[in-house]
């Protein structure tokens, strides 16, 4: 039903191992390069953040499991570059054939992120809030129930931000965040489809068979189409 990335609540992963306080930001040089190449390629404008998240999620289960964090990034990036026609498989295969000094400028080269533009691009960010024609259907304090079964309602096996552990659960609207781009649509070229977004609080006892404490809660940010009013008893 869901994919391996949707791991909230899963058993068997063992202890969390905190980093040493003086651990470097990037454990090795290639981690830093992987992050920077990925960010720089985003500037080419061929995909959005939801498309790139989905590209990592749809790595095969075998690859998702055996790859480390930045291996997922770099592998998903290679896939996206080919799928969007920026590069060909031949480009990837033939990468050793030319000398480093030789250049063959790409049609998109004018879009390449320049060093002097980096600070401004990172500072500008990419806000996800939008005007929406869909009115807010809920207000803080309202009782709601999440969609069940979970998964994308738009695309079979597609991207969604409703984790499986919170599908079909009852909770309460905590915050109204305004209207945001709907990832389920935006990840598949179906438009931004903005709709109201809420922080929804769930009792731990609603989500888990063996909650640690009766007063503990989990809060998730969920779009309006993930929610319905809780049926009155």
């Amino acid at each position: 039903m869901s994919r391996l990335h949707d791991m909230g609540g899963r058993f068997g992963d063992g202890a969390v191992v905190p980093d040493a306080p003086d651990a470097p930001v990037f454990a090795t040089d290639w981690h830093a390069r992987a992050l920077a190449v990925t960010l720089a390629c985003g500037a080419l404008g061929k995909w959005n953040i939801d498309v790139s998240r989905h590209a990592r999620e749809r790595l095969s289960p075998k690859d998702y499991t055996r790859y480390t964090y930045y291996e997922k990034w770099i592998s998903a990036l290679a896939d996206l570059l080919v799928e969007t026609g920026v590069l060909t498989r031949k480009d990837l295969q033939g990468q050793g054939e030319m000398g480093l000094g030789e250049k063959e400028l790409h049609a998109l080269a004018s879009k390449a992120l320049k060093a002097e533009a980096v600070a401004a691009v990172l500072a500008k960010g990419g806000p996800a809030n939008r005007d929406s024609t869909i009115a807010a259907g809920f207000a803080p304090g309202d009782r709601v129930k999440t969609r069940h079964p979970g998964g994308s309602a738009l695309v079979n096996g597609g991207h969604t931000r409703l984790p499986d552990y919170a599908a079909g659960a009852s909770g309460e609207i905590l915050l109204q965040h305004g209207a945001h781009v709907l990832p389920d649509s935006n990840a598949h070229g179906l438009g931004e489809a903005p709709e109201p977004l809420y922080a929804v609080a769930f009792k731990a006892s609603e989500l888990w068979a063996h909650p640690e404490h009766p007063n503990d809660e989990v809060v998730l940010d969920l779009w309006q189409s993930y929610l319905e009013p809780e049926a009155q008893e």
Partner: protein, 210 residues
């Protein structure tokens, strides 16, 4: 539509990850699609300029200035923008306050969402399967992995960052910090205390080794 296929293009690149990155960087550079100097600039930004010192500055100010704290908790974005702490992966910020009754903790179970302008690039443990899987189901056992035990009367609220909203925890001001100025207070605020897997240090601890 979800583009599932068994022969992913990435498979033709070298299998060693360092070589895989290098190969991709070489191809893209040769075609003029990336500028290696821009990559250096991105890395320098997150290695040296943007990091938990930003968030610590915000926390220290909130501990010192009640009006600032009230504005921060009510609507963080304009307050943070004024400090220059806006940008990629921090476009929509919510600051959540720890109290004796409620402890907040942040995770992203689906990927690795994290408030970059305030905390920089997330640490390895935040991106680990163990943290992503367990933080929502057994936060108290996860806190124990960090050497932290909460009193039974404190409820835990775990924020799973499933949208583009990013959460920063405002830790409780430690005892013994009365009279300290903002610089001294900021030194007590660790990265982990702003994720919710640690408390702020007390002045007796000598501050957090930054």
């Amino acid at each position: 539509m979800p583009h599932d296929h068994s022969d992913h293009p990435h498979a033709v690149l070298p299998s060693d990850p360092a070589l895989r990155v290098k190969a991709l960087e070489t191809i893209l550079t040769r075609k003029g699609l990336i500028d290696p100097a821009a990559l250096d600039e991105i890395i320098d930004t997150y290695q040296n300029k943007i990091g938990p010192q930003n968030g610590a500055r915000v926390v220290a100010r909130a501990w010192s200035d009640p009006a600032f704290k009230a504005a921060l908790l009510a609507d963080a974005d304009p307050v943070l923008a004024e400090l220059g702490f806006y940008g990629r992966q921090g476009e929509h910020m919510v600051v959540v306050e720890n109290t004796p009754e409620q402890h907040n903790m942040v995770v992203c179970t689906l990927c690795s969402c994290y408030p970059w302008p305030l905390l920089g690039i997330p640490p390895g443990w935040y991106k680990s399967d163990a943290y992503r899987a367990r933080a929502v189901r057994e936060p108290r056992k996860v806190l124990a992995d960090f050497g932290m035990t909460l009193p039974a009367e404190t409820a835990v609220r775990v924020w799973d960052s499933t949208a583009e909203v990013r959460y920063l925890v405002l830790p409780m001001r430690p005892e013994g910090s009365e009279g300290l100025d903002e610089d001294a207070l900021a030194a007590l605020v660790s990265r982990d205390s702003m994720i919710g897997t640690a408390l702020a240090s007390t002045p007796d601890d000598g501050g957090y080794p930054s």
